[in-house]
Symmetry: C2
Subunit: 353 residues, 2 copies
């Protein structure tokens, strides 16, 4: 690999970035500004066939085995929220980024950045939550690191988890594989995680409390693959929500996507908070939902497999991929209209994960 | 793995920790307090055969291949310093944690936590430095993540790099493998990195500038292994320095180590700064030095292999492993005395890497 690797590094030529010469919160939104930062800063510097795919994980071949490899930094605030905490999120989120390659998650690493003065009792709660999530997902946390920064130089606890998984199927699942006619399947109601965080931050008193949907999705994915269905793209729509994930797929695949608003479930209390705060649920983060784009003939068996899992009980076809070189994502509304669904612009809710 | 993995998670039972109920800077020192935090908090929660080794990386078997897997969070301040920056450090440090398993480094991930307002020009310098270090070490950065936190909730830029490498040798290299009689080999003069950071922070005007020794060590290690020498332990003595790395090995191996002060090189300007600031170079961080503990008969060929590399030109035998169930590390001083060299206590220099 040595000489190829060196050759793969093209010279960097940073172009101007939206927002001037400073990092803005929007660069971490997972939306358009994040995509710009990656496209103009990171991709030119590190360009290689794996990074170029812009998937949530790289699938590399080592000694004949296909391995999925993914990393995520977790900076969510508050650290503890209804339905979960940063620890569960850090384990499930990384497991899900392995799962969306169709990989069997095997091993995790965790790197903690702690602020001086952070309560050990809170660290214990976070560690216990990571342990439970890892045990439940049958992954082993095998290596780690701890750094401490002086008071005021971090915010309690940041965790970066990285995962390695084994890809045992023979399909190529990637954001550029959506084809006209494909069915867009969503595993359940959306926007729970973002609304849970938002409600916790705003101290909203909700009649029906909303909890994060944080959950590991690999068993759901492995069962879908076991049906033999032709699966083209898989995403867990986190930062930027369903709208942003589908826009990424549409752009990478150079195809359009038409969604059916009536098919996209939003639980009532979640819809209520969204209306209260002026949020479109399509842009709100999920941490336990799966988007699957599959060959149309295979949609019924994919749904059948999903329905057997608690995480996929409410799975439905929510749209279809259409011929459209401009890669537009649009929504057929319940009142018979049609509106364009763009990527998330700017920042909707910082530090959601 | 599923049921075994679940069984491997024993209940957590956090014990009191030095420093009361809050995280202190010393918990990130890499010394005794870090070891306590790991032993009392992380190990009981996540216990498994890999984590238990307390090496700087886990070596796991996937589909018949032995993979090294390691993660480190980088929080160094200042971000730019003589001889390097956080970017070079983040690549070389993770490459070295793969190298000290005798692995060939293959793939890296990088997760950035950026503070709102961070200058894009600084990000560009860091990314260019990571690119150069990765190209020079022939590793590919294949996946990443970017989060942005609000102003005042981080310190410019933190980077967590995680690496995957392939172990192709048949030896078991681990901190518990030192045996009485083994030779302790050090690849060059110590304390450059810590002194470079310290001088940069204190704005010291040095007659002879001191630069960080940040460098990738995998070629050095692979050439040592290619000699067929019996290599028992490998460490890059970073946080906590040579003293702490050797204490970890002594404890894990239940053997003593006797060092020869005259054989441990410290460059003159480095010694000068250490004297000025009251530091013992044995506790100061290195970022491009290798400690190798090898079967005594193989020391000459290990040295021969090291001497052929710029990073190992000044390699010497600096001590030996002795029978000692109390696992003491001691130093034969140049004046004929002997002193005990304990692990780093508390915090010597926060945010050194």
């Amino acid at each position: 690999m040595s000489s190829d690797a060196a050759a793969a590094f093209a010279p960097t030529c940073p172009a101007p970035l939206a927002g001037g010469d400073r990092i803005l919160l929007g660069h971490g939104s997972g939306g358009k500004m994040t995509a710009d930062l990656i496209a103009r800063r990171f991709l030119p510097a590190f360009r290689n066939e794996y990074l170029e795919r812009l998937d949530d994980q790289a699938v590399v071949t080592v000694n004949g085995s296909r391995l999925a490899f993914t990393t995520d930094a977790y900076v969510v605030t508050p650290l503890f929220f209804p339905g979960g905490d940063i620890g569960a999120l850090a384990v499930n989120g990384t497991v899900n980024d392995l799962a969306t390659a169709g990989a069997r998650p095997l091993y995790l690493s965790a790197a903690f950045i702690l602020e001086e003065g952070f309560a050990l009792a809170d660290l214990d709660r976070i560690v216990a939550s990571m342990r439970a999530a890892a045990a439940s997902a049958s992954v082993l946390l095998v290596t780690g690191d701890t750094k401490v920064v002086d008071r005021g130089k971090a915010d309690g606890c940041f965790i970066t988890t990285t995962g390695v998984g084994l890809v045992e199927h023979a399909q190529r699942i990637s954001a550029d594989r959506a084809r006209p006619g494909d069915a867009v399947i969503l595993s359940g109601p959306i926007a729970d995680h973002g609304v849970a965080i938002m409600a916790a931050r705003a101290d909203l008193e909700l009649e029906t409390p909303v909890g994060s949907d944080t959950a590991a999705l690999h068993r759901l994915v492995l069962d879908v693959l076991a049906t033999g269905a032709e699966v083209h793209c898989l995403r867990d729509p986190t930062r930027g929500g369903v709208a942003t994930a589908l826009n990424e797929i549409a752009r990478r695949s150079k195809a359009g996507i038409v969604l059916d608003e009536a098919a996209i479930a939003v639980r009532e209390p979640v819809r209520g908070v969204c209306e209260l705060l002026g949020l479109d649920p399509l842009y709100v983060a999920n941490e336990g939902k799966l988007l699957a784009i599959v060959a149309p003939a295979d949609a019924p068996r994919v749904l059948g497999a999903m329905h057997r899992h608690p995480e996929g009980r409410d799975a439905r076809v929510v749209g279809e991929v259409v011929e459209d070189p401009t890669a537009l994502v649009s929504l057929r509304t319940t009142v018979g209209g049609r509106r364009i669904v763009d990527m998330l612009q700017g920042e909707q809710l910082p530090r959601i994960c």
